[in-house]
Amino acid sequence: MPSPRYTREIPSRYRLEAGRCKGCDKVAYPARRVCPSCRGKEIQMVNLTPKGKVVTSTVIHVPPDDFLMEAPYAMAIVETPEGARLMTQVVDCEPSTVLPGMDVSLEFRLIRKEGKGGILCYGHKAVPVF
């Protein structure tokens, strides 16, 4: 990922910064300029609680090239207590045990590398609540 783009996305990737609509309370992750629920434009920044519940999941056996060494790995849509949903890998457990309803915490991890010489891209992944 080119550095300018990566840099823009740091607040949401590193700190789980999201936007809460002042009109309808909907929390969008990452924050949006227009509320997807009521089109309100007054958005207040909030940090998501780094935990949630698996809404749905899969185990990727045929990965994109950048994730070849990690397969098979579990991925899930996780809903945080604020109601925001995010797509994330679920690690530090048997991938097949990641199923809807599972409680997870979100931890800061290396997500991908830009080849051997490019930048390192960080963000959050889910782990089971131990």
Partner: protein
């Protein structure tokens, strides 16, 4: 007086057993376990490095300190496995922790001593009144060449310490450093694995500096071994720190709490700092604690700390080192280990 306001540690959940590594190279695991006192070691996943370990430990430290991250005026990370050769680990870590941008940041390297080096400088800045709070972190995803004795110990983990002047959980009574030029262990630029001088790493390197620094700080403070509730020395294997402790007059009861190496391995810059975190997890008010690190090259930093009444109130706010060492673990095979540590050549 300056001291600690918060601390935190992180140990990855993957492990490899001594038997598994020994089997790979046709060695007798019992000899290794007896000789080096190593049962197993932590292994970082693909997605764990010095930065992610620093963030996890740093978050725990901030939780225990209960301070506004914006008030942290300095952040130093000591490691010999910074993911970038050029570009700080500290900038990523600070952003993730919500620290800065008004913050002074540097990455330190001094073999296994880099962690206490970061703590030493962080403490100094707080004592000088330059910053309100400063964070020092020691973290590593240690490298050891295949079939080297280091492979049984080189592991992953780290600890973070926040220094301040008020609401201390432990006072820093004294800090002391002892250094000489001793090429016992090194890694040249561009080399993947470190090299070492075999038995030369023992007496003239580890023991010389650890004992000198520890004796130096005892002399400076007028304290004796029996005054301490706990002591921790850098843990390149299970044997060295126990031997150093005994030579200094410490008893096993004072040493075993911080002696995390048998099941964690040597987390290099994170080694003695993680041991200190394990001690802080259980220490009681007024307990005196000695920590002495060792970094090849070579030098040792020593600190004497005294726990305050506040410490027991924060111990339970984040995971303890023991809970991570004894908690959920996943044992990997040597093949998986080689894959996770990127010791296999694959096509890009």
């Amino acid at each position: 007086m300056a001291g600690l306001v918060g601390y935190g540690a992180y140990v990855p959940r993957k492990r490899i057993r001594t038997e598994e590594i020994a089997r790979q190279w046709g060695k007798n695991p019992e000899t290794i376990k007896r000789g080096l006192l190593l049962q197993e070691k932590s292994v970082p996943g693909f997605d764990e490095d010095t930065i992610t370990i620093s963030v996890a430990a740093g978050r725990a430290a901030l939780t225990r300190a209960g301070i506004d991250p914006q008030k942290v005026g300095a952040l130093y990370i000591g490691s010999e496995s910074h993911p970038y050769a050029v570009k700080p680990s500290g900038t990523v870590t600070a952003e993730a922790l919500g620290i800065g941008p008004e913050v002074h940041i540097a990455d330190f390297e001094f073999a296994c001593k880099a962690g206490t080096e970061a703590m030493f400088v962080a403490l100094g800045l707080v004592e000088a009144g330059r910053v309100e709070y400063a964070m020092g972190i020691g973290a590593d995803t240690s490298q050891g060449a295949p079939d080297d004795a280091l492979e049984f110990s080189a592991s992953a983990g780290g600890a973070a310490f926040i220094f301040g002047a008020d609401d201390l959980i432990a006072e820093v009574i004294e800090a002391y450093s002892y250094t000489s030029d001793t090429p016992d262990f090194w890694r040249r630029e561009g080399e993947f694995y470190p090299r070492h001088g075999g038995r030369f790493t023992g007496e003239p390197a580890y023991f010389k500096h650890v004992l000198a620094a520890s004796r130096g700080i005892l002399e400076k403070t007028g304290l004796k071994a029996e005054d301490f509730a706990y002591a921790v020395f850098h843990m390149p294997n299970g044997k060295f720190p126990m031997s150093a402790g005994k030579q200094l007059g410490f008893k096993i009861e004072q040493l075993e709490t911080g002696w995390v190496v048998p099941t964690m391995g040597n987390t290099y810059s994170g080694s003695s700092p993680t041991g200190l975190a394990a001690i802080l997890d259980v220490a009681k008010p007024n307990d005196l604690i000695l920590i002495t690190s060792f970094g090849s090259g070579a030098g040792s930093d020593s600190f004497v700390l005294k726990a305050t009444k506040r410490l027991p109130k924060v111990q339970g706010l984040a995971p303890t080192v023991r809970s991570m060492l004894d908690g959920p673990r996943h044992y990997v095979t040597y093949g998986e280990y080689a894959k996770f540590r990127e010791k296999m050549i694959v096509n890009e």
